[in-house]
């Protein structure tokens, strides 16, 4: 699954740690999502969507 978390984060000038603190996860988790090593579950995907004020589909895109 592809995602644009890194792009959204850098647009807001946030560090990975800041994003992690805002949705109450670890920095490693944000790093793993950004680098495509981990696809988050629904609660975390919703938390990211709320944080960036986007829909889940705007952040995550399934591989074809």
């Amino acid at each position: 699954m592809k995602n644009c978390v890194r792009e959204l984060r850098t647009q807001k000038n946030w560090t990975q740690q800041e994003v992690a603190d805002r949705i109450d996860v670890s920095r490693q988790t944000i790093n793993a999502i950004e680098t495509g090593r981990y696809d988050p579950g629904l609660p975390m995907a919703f938390a990211l969507a709320r944080l960036f004020r986007k829909s889940i589909e705007e952040i995550f895109e399934a591989d074809r």
């Binding site: 603190d21 109450d24 996860v25 670890s26 490693q28 793993a32 950004e34 981990y38 988050p40 975390m44």
Partner: protein
């Protein structure tokens, strides 16, 4: 509870349990040799397992509290460490048949702990490099 608060609570619980373990081991090794009753002596010798149960409880609580990615990463690391330790202990068991000195069962946990620590360091290093 924030991630930082969860980590602080984990280290507090873990360090508390480990400090208790050290104290109980020190007391048990001092008291046990002078004891007459074999049953009571065995109970005193095995008493450090009570704080070890607290250590396991602290780790289990931490697993339940951390986020989903960390939980997966930690469980994967523990699983690989257990598999490596099983392989190493089985290999050494066969080598004992070939004449190598017999080792105490106490060796198993430090080996698994060391492999666990090494794998966690490798994972952290790789993540920092990719980040």
């Amino acid at each position: 509870m924030s991630h930082k608060a969860r980590m602080s609570r984990y280290f507090l619980e873990l360090m508390g349990a480990m400090a208790l373990y050290v104290a109980v081991v020190a007391a048990a090794t001092r008291v046990a040799p002078g004891m007459g009753s074999a049953g009571l002596k065995a109970l005193v010798c095995v008493s450090p397992m009570l704080p070890i149960a607290l250590v396991i409880w602290a780790i289990a609580r931490h697993f339940r509290r951390v986020d989903e990615y960390l939980r997966l990463a930690m469980l994967e690391t523990v699983a690989i460490a257990a598999a490596v330790t099983a392989g190493a202990s089985l290999t050494y068991g066969f080598l004992e048949n070939a004449g190598l000195p017999k080792l105490s069962m106490f060796v198993v946990w430090p080996v698994m702990g060391a492999v666990w620590f090494l794998l966690a360091c490798i994972r952290e290093f790789r993540e920092r490099r990719q980040g």
